[in-house]
């Protein structure tokens, strides 16, 4: 059973005269209970992809289905029962004027089918579930620490018992010690509630820890996709290799690696012809500048490189 199915999704933005292609003909699926990690640098389109799947933005073309049903056919209440988000910045993702209790209760109230006492009971259970005490219910977001806020956001996302949670950089704004707490909580909840995650992050170590499969995104395209162990053990795309090389593991004495990508940064409004990675690619050949690579299938994924 596939939880998320994306077919040829495309999304562009108009910025003045320039057209920015944020997501360019992306297709993938996530099976139920799986965790797909999406990694890539800022501006690669990973957050836009998350917003397309959440229904926050309409796709220009292509099709997105969650739990076997087309996203466009779902009404807001049905959609909310299937898929929920956890955003990066817990300072911005909670209404500063609402009490924790009301924030967590919001999805229940929007359904308009629960009684007051049901709402109160469910909210309380959920707060306990994410490790917040009862008294926290009466607090305002400003009175909580970053980690506590992210717990509130997780409680809000799970209170309707959705099938799928889209986590958009859920720990990037947190300190390392708190990041570990939140990652542990997310894994535990996934196991206990049978959730499917789409986990977006720029931190490869975090993705390796939580994801069963990883997709690497570059300038709006998924350039490589493999089960996590395979991708980390045998990356094929030169961009994936560069990303892995630039991870600074806490191992003293190794020095800082040379990732060899040059200093020209990608511009999503001006996508290079041929392989879009070729201007930065350390092993590019002349044909890379002219021929657009097709996806080369692998047993459990694919890679989009002429030289792979």
């Amino acid at each position: 059973m596939t939880a998320i199915e994306v077919r040829n999704a495309r999304k562009t933005f108009k910025a003045g005269k320039r057209t920015v292609v944020a997501v360019d003909d992306v297709s993938f699926s996530v099976r139920e209970g799986g965790v797909l990690g999406i990694v890539g640098e800022s501006g690669c389109g990973k957050s836009t992809l998350a917003r397309l799947i959440l229904g926050l933005l309409p796709a220009d073309s292509g099709e997105i289905a969650i739990d076997g049903r087309r996203l466009v056919d779902l009404d807001r209440k049905a959609r909310a029962r299937l898929i929920q988000p956890v955003f990066q910045d817990p300072f911005a993702s909670l209404n500063p004027l609402a009490r924790v209790r009301d924030i967590v209760a919001m999805p229940l109230r929007a359904q308009a089918s629960f009684s007051k006492s049901e709402v109160a009971k469910t909210v309380e259970e959920m707060l306990t579930r994410v490790g917040l005490s009862r008294e926290m219910g009466g607090r305002l977001p400003a009175e909580l620490s970053g980690g506590q806020r992210q717990r509130v956001a997780i409680a809000r996302a799970l209170v309707l018992r959705p099938r799928i949670v889209v986590c958009d950089e859920p720990t990037s704004a947190l300190d390392v010690s708190v990041q570990a707490q939140i990652l542990n909580l997310l894994s535990e909840l996934r196991r206990d509630l049978g959730l499917t995650y789409l986990f977006i992050s720029h931190n490869l170590a975090v993705v390796e820890h939580v994801a069963s499969e990883v997709a690497v995104m570059y300038l709006g395209r998924l350039v490589e996709r493999e089960p996590t162990e395979m991708l980390f053990a045998r990356p094929e795309h030169p961009y994936t290799k560069a990303l892995l090389a630039s991870v600074l593991t806490p191992e003293p004495g190794l020095g800082v690696p040379d990732v060899g990508l040059g200093d020209t940064l990608p511009d999503p409004a001006n996508i290079p012809p041929g392989c879009r990675f070729h201007p930065r690619c350390p092993i590019a050949e002349p044909r890379c500048a002219t021929t657009t690579p097709a996806v080369k299938p692998r047993p459990e994924g694919g890679v989009e490189c002429l030289l792979a």
């Binding site: 229904g55 988000p85 911005a92 993702s93 209404n95 500063p96 004027l97 919001m106 359904q111 309707l160």
Partner: protein
């Protein structure tokens, strides 16, 4: 140091507005005389700080022998009533338009911007004069005319703050939670822009009070014998050379009230600004 001064300003403003609101609410209980009762035997009595004052008329009397303090207090009631009503009318119009434009964006926003531009190109005083000239002067007409003319600041502020709030993740989260548009607007957006709108409201009250005074001074605002401060100044201008206090007292009252409202508005802005930083 600066913060201290600001704080004092806020308190001064709050006290002035508080007194004015008190006078407006309880005017009939506060006045020592009937503000409409004429006594031609006691015309233009001098106020308490001058020689030959009548102790029962603290601020003296006007050219028809009406108690000036009583008229001042009733005038305050009229000013506050006009200020508040105009602000409520213009606030409802402006906030609705601005929030819709900011939240919906696209075409709707284009229409809103066009409406604001159109409104900005209308000269308020001239339009108000024309309307009052055509329909005759009454308090209701004055309040609605001004209310229909003064919404643009609400619209502009509501629109820009809504745009900021709309893009925050908690609005996205509410959308994902399955909330309706109305629920998102009323529950998530409006409370978070309210502090900005309160500041605009104070400025609008002050502006409406000044405009009312100006129109009344021109004879096109509040009809006599209602004791509006603008009208009091207009009626007093014939006597200002021999009895200057008749023009000075309502003038000062107007100045102090508008200053107080503006000080309070500044203070509120600082307060809300500081809170949103925290």
């Amino acid at each position: 140091m600066k913060r201290g001064w600001r704080n004092i300003g806020t308190w001064v403003g709050a006290v002035i507005v508080g007194i004015a609101a008190f006078c407006a609410l309880f005017a009939p209980l506060l006045v020592p005389h009937d503000p409409f009762a004429q006594d031609l035997g006691k015309r233009l009595l001098v106020p308490f700080w001058m020689e030959g004052t009548d102790p029962s008329h603290l601020l003296g009397t006007d050219q028809l022998g009406r108690d000036y303090l009583s008229r001042l207090i009733y005038g305050c009631r009229i000013s506050m009533m006009i200020g508040v009503t105009v602000t409520i009318v213009s606030g409802i119009i402006g906030i609705t338009i601005g929030v819709l434009g900011g939240f919906m964006g696209g075409r709707v926003d284009d229409v809103v911007l066009f409406a604001v531009t159109t409104r900005l190109s209308l000269p308020v005083v001239l339009v108000a004069l024309a309307v009052v000239g055509l329909l005759g002067s009454s308090m209701t007409i004055l309040m609605f005319t001004l209310g229909l003319l003064l919404w643009e600041r609400f619209a502009v502020v509501a629109r820009s703050t809504t745009m900021q709030v709309r893009n925050l993740d908690f609005v996205a989260a509410a959308w994902c939670a399955g909330c309706s548009r109305f629920r998102i607007l009323a529950g998530e957006v409006l409370p978070n822009i309210a502090s900005h709108l309160v500041v605009v409201a104070t400025l609008e009250i002050a502006l409406a009070i000044l405009l009312e005074a100006a129109l009344s001074f021109l004879g096109l605002g509040v009809p006599p014998p209602l004791p509006s401060w603008g009208l009091m100044i207009a009626e007093a201008k014939d006597y200002m050379f021999f009895s200057p206090w008749v023009i000075v007292i309502p003038g000062i009252a107007l100045f102090v009230l508008v200053l107080g409202i503006n000080l309070l508005g500044d203070g509120l802005r600082d307060l809300f600004g500081a809170r949103s930083d925290a």
